[in-house]
């Protein structure tokens, strides 16, 4: 009898999680629309350099490739953390979350350093329509990454303090969706902003 009740309880819990995940998914899709509008602005403005440098002169592709690989690998290690979470393996979850966090931090550091050098060279967002749209698009992605990192740190601390509970699994599922989603947005930033920019399109 009690066996049935726990089964029912866990089924109800699983269904509740499914609903939460769907809600979060809907948020991610609207976030996609936000990025799409920024991409549209970039597509319209990227030729308006106002006599300043264009993408071909500004972007260092090998540098951006390192950034891309860091983010892609962090997306993979985030998946490994999720697999460990399904096995309720607390130390493995913490290990892979830590690796993901460090890779994400590397990505963010590289991006901020890139921004810093551009601004120092007089190519800030105030220079031209192209640079305004560039900083808005890439900066918004960077801001998402920053929030993702904070979220990751909070979850890691909670797991350390309270152990790996069912509610942690739910939070981790949402975080992993968010993190994979940011990697997908980056594919398009890499292709449209950096690769197309280097081709001078």
């Amino acid at each position: 009898m009690s066996e049935v009740t726990t089964l029912d309880m866990s089924r109800i819990e699983a269904e509740a999680t499914e609903k939460t995940v769907l809600g979060f998914w809907a948020y991610l899709m609207t976030d996609c629309v936000l990025f799409a509008s920024l991409f549209a602005v970039y597509a319209v403005l990227h030729g308006n350099t106002f006599g300043g440098s264009n993408g071909r002169e500004l972007f260092k592709l090998p540098y951006v490739l390192v950034e891309t690989m860091a983010l892609l690998t962090s997306s993979f290690t985030c998946g490994l953390a999720m697999i460990a979470a399904q096995k309720r393996d607390r130390s493995q979850v913490l290990l892979w979350l830590g690796v993901t966090f460090l890779l994400g931090l590397t990505f963010l550091g590289l991006e901020l350093s890139e921004f810093h050098h551009m601004v120092l060279d007089g190519n800030s967002w105030r220079r031209s329509g192209f640079l305004s749209s560039y900083f808005t698009l890439v900066g918004t992605h960077g801001l998402h990454i920053t929030f993702g990192l904070i979220w990751m740190a909070v979850i890691s601390i909670l797991i350390l303090k309270r152990g790996f509970t069912e509610s942690m699994l739910k939070r981790l599922t949402l975080l992993s969706l968010f993190w994979h989603f940011l990697d997908i947005i980056w594919i398009f930033i890499f292709t449209i902003v950096y690769l197309f920019g280097s081709l001078n399109i």
Binding site: T6, L22, V33, L65, G79, E166, D183, F188, I192
Partner: protein, 123 residues
């Protein structure tokens, strides 16, 4: 907790899927990168290939990392995603279309515009 909880997951995560998604993404990214740094093909062709590679990588990550299509019916996640794709296509495609058309009609510079208007005898 007990293994019963995880039995309720419709799709237990598999390491193989993550690895294939990861390797596929690396391959696609490197191909796109090499095409730009080492390629000498026609620009229009390169742009077409790059766009295709990006879309393929989008699908690869959606399937292998975000598990799109794994859910049980009714597939709300898939439905919401297609709605998003529709909105994105209208938004981006529409903006580029309208602004290019505007650029075309406004011509390149104010000087040219003046010349055109004068030639039309409307100034």
């Amino acid at each position: 907790m007990s293994p019963k909880v995880s039995e309720h997951n419709a799709h237990p995560l598999s390491l193989g899927k993550y690895i294939s998604g990861f390797l596929g993404s690396i391959l696609l990214t490197m191909t796109a990168y090499m095409l730009v740094t080492h390629g000498s093909a026609n620009k229009a062709v390169v742009v077409g290939v790059l766009a295709t590679l990006a879309v393929v990588q989008f699908v690869v990550q959606m399937v292998f990392f975000l598990h799109v299509g794994d859910e049980r019916k009714p597939r709300w996640k898939l439905l919401v995603m297609f709605l998003m794709l529709g909105v994105v296509l209208i938004l981006v495609g529409g903006s580029i279309w309208v602004m290019n058309d505007l650029n075309y009609r406004m011509m390149d510079s104010p000087q040219q515009m003046q010349k055109y208007l004068k030639s039309q005898d409307s100034l």
